[in-house]
Amino acid sequence: MKILYGFLIVSLMAGFLGAAEAGKITVDGSTTVGPIAKAFAEFYMKQHPGVNITVSESGSGNGAKSLINGSCQVATMSRIMKQNEYEAAVHSEVLPISFVVALDGIAMIVHPGNPIRELTMEQIKNVYIGKIKNWNQLGGPNVPIVIISRDTNSGTYETFETRVLKGEKIVKNCEYVGSSGAIRQRVQSTPAAIGYVGIGFIDSTVKALPVNNVPPSPETVKDGSYPIGRPLYMYTNDYPKMGSDLYLFVNLFLTKKGQEIIEETGFIPVTNY
């Protein structure tokens, strides 16, 4: 705790020093980390007028690529860098440093009118690979399941694919939508739908189901009992120069304000003030 406070003070002091040199920071990458990056960017720009931070949400892979060819300073990613990306980075003399800025859990959501109370990992997998096609196989009414997934260009999809499907192929009639918000919207308007979103996106319009008896919540993700959790990353090329805008920006998640922003955007902070 003390260390963190010390860190906060140091970074605030550094902030005053760093404010003198105006600059730009380009952030590129994951749509999942987008809300955090956008909120951080606005918060930072308000505190340091003259710094322009642009945030693109073009996907984790694009973030890695931009970092490696030097076109962005911060890559936001909802998955860890892949081996070949590391290799490419080393090849072009880029040293990716990762910051785990927040945690996220993937929650299974259904329409609130759906009587299903919970699911197991096995059931989720069977729904998504097409072995379970109707809600009555899960104890619900006789209605075919409408399966909704994030687009394949998202880190959320990849996490879901590796953690839940475990390498099996998603069923072909699965609908793909561009974002967690869009999934929530599809599910709240479609009684027979099932989808998955980051836990920050759960609200009263949809029903988030416990998985293996564990309800999705910040607490269960944090203590590791919720089975589908993951860290969210920011990558920089080499550790940023102390006191620079970049340094302050990527370390914002360690500050108290940063923690509040992360909580407010619906993710789980790694700090605990």
């Binding site: 694009n62 409408v146 394949t152 260009n153 999809y157 192929k169 699965c174 609908e175």
Partner: protein
């Protein structure tokens, strides 16, 4: 005075110089004009360059034969057949919506509406053409999709009335016409009336049944091939109408007047004289309009549902599909560009398919239009 005279009668040297500068200028102009050529060549070169590694790595077969599109799987699979099919399906839908409507509207504009009304309709076409595709996409996603999902059945029923009623009446008219051909002169009118009334009753009854059946249809998701087809059809309309109208106009007054002079009605003139003369132009119009639908990105990305599947049965427009353009736009973000993975190059391979399709379609329509120009020029 003296000087002016000398200027007017140019010496050989001056004249040569002038010709030389003119030549140089002309060369310069040509160079600037050639930018289009260069751009086209560069586009082909770059897309091919980045598509080639995919074919080298994975061969041709998988892309066009398999329907398994799992670019992020372990191992990944790149079967784009379902995606190509999706593009085809929504294009087919767009054709069904846009071609009859577009050609009928083109006929109205070229031959039927009075001049003043024509001038007020033309801006409508221009506005339809000018509205940005993202606005169409937004409409499809935010307004049309929920509408389809909640009131889909009634919408379908309404559409069936709008389409089937006029066509049905036309059919009834034709049938009564043919059926009463051999009846005694003074019986024709009442016989016709009775027959028409009976047939109209049957038509309305069956339409009622059809619309009741359609009203019961539940659309599980509003973002589907039907939604996209209708919107793409509307987007393709302006191209079809304006090109088709141009070629109908190009058929010329003389042809029409000749036909009228022989006692033909306007409809007969159109069907037997003008449309055969302008037919190739109309085909070119359809091709150009269809290409607009094939190449459109935002609408399909936002509102097609993006499911990489061949619907079952294949013509099931109510199921979500995925198209080439949406796949490129959507998957580019996650494709590991640095490492030159198949996942990156496959998108260029898809772009190459699109590009080649548009080239071929363009060349064909260009060729058709030019041939028509020459032929009609010869007629005059």
């Amino acid at each position: 005075m003296q000087r002016n005279e000398r200027n007017l009668i140019m010496s050989d040297a001056v004249s040569r110089l002038r010709r030389l500068t003119a030549l140089i200028l002309k060369g310069f102009l040509l160079l600037a004009t050639a930018l289009s050529l260069v751009a086209v060549l560069l586009i082909i070169a770059y897309i091919t360059r980045d598509a080639f590694p995919f074919f080298k790595l994975r061969g041709l077969g998988e892309l066009f034969k398999s329907t398994a599109w799992f670019p992020s799987g372990h191992p990944p699979e790149f079967g784009a057949l379902a995606i190509i099919f999706g593009s085809g399906l929504v294009t087919l839908g767009a054709i069904v919506v846009a071609v009859p409507l577009g050609i009928a509207a083109a006929i109205a504009l070229s031959d039927i509406l009075p001049y003043r009304l024509r001038q007020t309709v033309k801006p409508v076409i221009e506005i339809l053409a000018a509205i940005p595709s993202v606005a169409y996409g937004f409409f499809a996603l935010v307004i049309f999709a929920p509408l389809l999902q909640n009131r889909g059945g009634s919408l379908l029923a309404l559409a069936s009335w709008i389409i089937a009623l006029p066509l049905g009446l036309l059919l009834i008219f034709a049938v009564t016409e043919i059926a009463t051909r051999s009846i005694r002169e003074d019986m024709v009118k009442p016989a016709r009336l009775i027959l028409a009334a009976v047939l109209t009753a049957i038509l309305c009854r069956s339409l009622l049944a059809l619309s009741a059946m359609l009203s019961a249809v539940k659309i599980s998701s509003g973002t589907n091939a039907l939604n996209v087809s209708i919107i793409l059809g509307i987007m393709a309309l302006p191209t079809i109408v304006s090109v088709a109208e141009d070629s109908l106009q190009a058929a010329g007054r003389e042809l029409r007047e000749g036909s009228y002079a022989l006692g033909a009605t306007r409809a007969e003139t159109l069907f037997k004289v003008v449309i055969p003369a302008a037919g190739s132009g109309i085909i070119a119009a359809i091709i150009l309009g269809v290409m607009r639908a094939v190449g459109e990105t935002m609408v399909v990305w936002m509102a097609s549902g993006n499911a990489a599947q061949i619907p079952s049965p294949w013509f099931n427009f109510l199921s979500p599909v995925r198209t080439l353009t949406a796949t490129i736009a959507g998957d580019m973000g996650e494709a590991d560009q640095v490492t030159g993975s198949s996942r990156y190059h496959v998108l260029f391979a898809l772009a190459l398919c699109l590009l080649l399709t548009s080239f071929v379609a363009n060349l064909i329509s260009e060729w058709i239009l030019r041939r028509q120009q020459r032929r009609l020029g010869g007629l005059k």
